[in-house]
């Protein structure tokens, strides 16, 4: 599944969730797919969209908050998964689009050449639940996706 396809699937299932987008590919593709002006697009602080989304989710416990993250941003701050897990905000869903490259800055490959299992990292960080989603699995499972999800 291409990154844009994954974003399109998420956009179709968003419902009334408030979206927070990591800078770069996630923000660019979410904007392209949704033209959403009520989403928050990080313009900096790479790696910390997850923390921003957590702060928003804790402040608005009745509002569903979706974090549209990417593997490059996640790897800037893997510790965010521990913080998320510790707070267990049930209204927060963390999506990671793992395209294996730094798409916005030339498409060069990420460290470890795509061998990283982000879902395993999230599980090990004690995230409430984790759902790896591939091309066939993404669409039907999205409405019930838990705290952290991983789309290849």
């Amino acid at each position: 599944m291409k990154a844009r396809d994954a974003i399109d699937v998420l956009a179709r299932h968003r419902g009334d969730a408030v979206a927070v987008c990591a800078l770069g590919m996630a923000a660019n593709e979410w904007w392209a797919a949704t033209k959403s002006e009520e989403s928050f697009y990080m313009h900096g602080a790479m790696g910390f969209a997850a923390s921003f989304a957590l702060g928003l989710a804790l402040s608005l416990p009745r509002v569903p908050v979706w974090l549209i993250n990417a593997d490059g941003s996640l790897c800037m701050n893997l510790g965010c998964l521990l913080t998320e897990a510790s707070q267990a905000a049930s209204n927060l869903k963390h999506f990671v689009v793992a395209n294996g490259v730094y798409q916005t800055v030339g498409g060069l490959p990420m460290v470890n050449d795509g061998r990283t299992d982000y879902a395993a990292i999230a599980r090990a960080a004690a995230s409430a639940s984790v759902a790896p989603s591939g091309r066939s699995a993404a669409r039907p499972s999205l409405p019930r996706l838990p705290l952290s999800a991983h789309i290849r």
Partner: protein, 168 residues
């Protein structure tokens, strides 16, 4: 009432409902007081910039917050403070131990002592130094200044304030 209790009392007066922290030993007693307060959601973070971003998200949720850390942690956050908080005009109230002062006597804090204030001045981040217990009452004014200026604001706690007179 000890100084941590007095600071905690002023933060309550400010209406703070979320606090995100990574400890430095000078602010650790304050952090533990806040952690024990069930009226404040305390978030322990793995890196100081997480605290900045959590408070920034809380701002958009309409909830008042504070980030607590040491001066070393503050130095690690300058990129995030510039590209998140300055860019989006998000106020964030930081409570930071002013390490590296002449009474600190820790060689690994020496650079923080010399360069932290010039760095904040270069970024045009306002700050306020609380050095004595009777100055703790200035915290609500500092918090309001942060909200008005919609930018990072650093409240420094000195060694004399948190540890008392005398050297390490």
């Amino acid at each position: 009432m000890d100084v941590s209790a007095r600071i905690h009392q002023q933060l309550t007066k400010c209406g703070i409902k979320i606090a995100a922290s990574l400890p430095d030993d000078w602010v650790a007693p304050l952090i533990e007081r806040i952690a024990a307060d069930n009226q404040i959601r305390h978030v322990r973070v793995a890196r100081e910039a997480e605290a900045i971003a959590i408070c920034s998200g809380a701002f958009f949720g309409g909830v008042r917050s504070a980030a607590l850390m040491g001066a070393t942690g503050l130095l690690t956050c300058t990129g995030e403070l510039a590209t998140l908080n300055l860019r989006h005009q998000i106020p964030v109230f930081l409570i930071v131990s002013q390490r590296g002062s002449i009474d600190d006597h820790r060689i690994y804090q020496e650079v923080q002592g010399r360069r932290t204030l010039p760095l904040l001045q270069a970024l045009d981040f306002p700050y306020h130094i609380v050095d004595r217990p009777d100055e703790v009452n200035s915290i609500p004014d500092a918090f309001e200044t942060c909200r008005m200026q919609k930018r990072p604001f650093v409240l420094f706690l000195t060694r004399r304030l948190v540890k008392g007179e005398g050297t390490a």
